[in-house]
């Protein structure tokens, strides 16, 4: 069976897998983004809090994802729970780091000016600091998403959802006629989805980065 025939025959299965892959990554990214920015907001003002958050996340990032999944299985079982926890955990890291660096990079005189015209702490954060720190945070989100696409593929080994299943099916049937088709479909699918995500983020950047700091 040629690759195109394979795609034609299995498009139902492939589309389901692709959809599940995207939906798992997307949902975990939403959780990770909210949590990551919150952690950034809470810690960026204190120097030790910020460096603690950055060191902790960097250490977690060092851990191979298969090992992280392996440690979660005895606690939460197979399937969706370890996948979601792992994806969210790894997704946090670049976002936390870039939030802290971005928020710290905001020109203090701008914050002072906002204070001077009578803005409250919350208003300063929401209307001055976060918009200015948004471009680096968005970069963090992009990096996270790319990484999660790959980790989600590995999570399929622990019965997680997504295109990783296609790859592992191929590995399990090495030597059979369809092995190459399966692996190729899974891998290319993930590459294409990752590139689409990236394009979406570029668009999102165009729409959400305040005009004043856009080049």
């Amino acid at each position: 069976m040629s690759f195109w025939e394979y795609l034609g025959n299995r498009h139902q299965q492939l589309l389901t897998d692709a959809y599940q892959h995207v939906s798992a990554v997307f949902q975990c990214m939403v959780i990770a983004t909210v949590l990551g920015i919150l952690i950034g907001i809470v810690t960026y003002r204190s120097s030790w809090g910020g460096s603690l958050a950055i060191t902790t996340t960097a250490t977690i990032l060092t851990i191979p994802s298969l090992a992280a999944i392996g440690l979660l299985i005895p606690l939460v079982g197979l399937g969706v729970p370890p996948t979601v926890i792992t994806l969210t955990m790894y997704g946090l890291l670049p976002i936390v780091r870039n939030s802290i660096v971005g928020l710290r990079g905001v020109d203090p005189s701008l914050v002072d000016a906002a204070k001077g015209i009578g803005m409250s702490r919350i208003a300063r954060l929401c209307r001055v600091e976060l918009p200015l720190a948004w471009p680096p945070i968005l970069t963090g989100i992009r990096v996270s998403t790319q990484m999660l696409m790959g980790i989600a593929a590995i999570a399929a080994y622990a019965s997680g959802p997504g295109l990783g299943n296609e790859i592992f099916r191929g590995i399990a049937s090495l030597g059979s006629a369809n092995a190459l088709n399966q692996v190729l479909a899974g891998t290319l699918g993930i590459v294409i989805l990752a590139l689409l995500f990236d394009a979406a983020y570029v668009l999102l950047g165009r729409l959400t980065i305040p005009r004043g700091i856009r080049a």
């Binding site: 990032l61 191979p64 994802s65 090992a67 005895p74 890291l93 990079g105 990096v143 191929g170 092995a179």
Partner: protein, 295 residues
Amino acid sequence: MNPPDMNPHRSVPPGPGERPSSSPLPGEHDVQDVFRDEEEEPAPPPAAPRRRITWRKLVLMPAALAVVLALTYLWITNVHLDSIAKNSLTGGNVQLRWWQHVKLTAISTFWVLIIAIPLGIALTRRRLRRGAPLVTVLANVGQATPAIGLLALLVIWLGIGASTAIIGMVIYAVLPVFSNTVAGLRAIEPNLVEASRGIGMSAMGTLTKVELPLAVPLILAGVRTALVLNVGTATLATFVGGGGLGDLITSGIQTQRMPVLVLGSVLTVVLALLVDWLASLVEVALTPRGLEVGA
């Protein structure tokens, strides 16, 4: 303000897709730098001053890892193991997997350095500079490829075995070292290169005596990234018959023997953190003193 040449992280050119920033946002360069050499990079934030090795740095991590290992050992020796679990854990199997993992990591990192650093140097020379964007595009697409997919494709093409795993790991880790080498060499002030040519140094002399030493911090950060990446990718070697600690993890999952799974995972985590710690020591030790920020 620091003078610009004191901080090797300042003048990194904006990555593809980033705007050429007329410096509207003070922190932005730092941020791009944090993530230009990619996701798995555990290097300390560029803002932090580099210091020589302190006793805390020397002792804290290995002590913590030793405690974790001791606790795991106590647990494993006291937990009830049935015959399947015993099969996976006795007869030197654990040591064998550990050494396989270390070997996979070491060999693939060696090849990564041999390939990526000369390639980075070559593509920053005047004659080949035009090739650089092409390589960057290739590298970015490569980055979007999941490691497990790459390994699976290679195993179909080359057959199972440790060498397949190593080839996959090398392909996967070449990118960060390459892009850091290029970034490090490009960040050097053209004045310095010109001055060294002006006092009569050859192109080769300029490269080895001026450019490479100045690019050392970024190149080393890339090497550390590659090492950590390789420890992680080596866990996937088990899927292509390459052995390593991933073997314990996957057999633990397949036979549903939690002690095997946990031991494999804990050892992998310990190895990853240990390698990162060693690399951070080397990084500090090899950085030229003149480049230390705030020194």
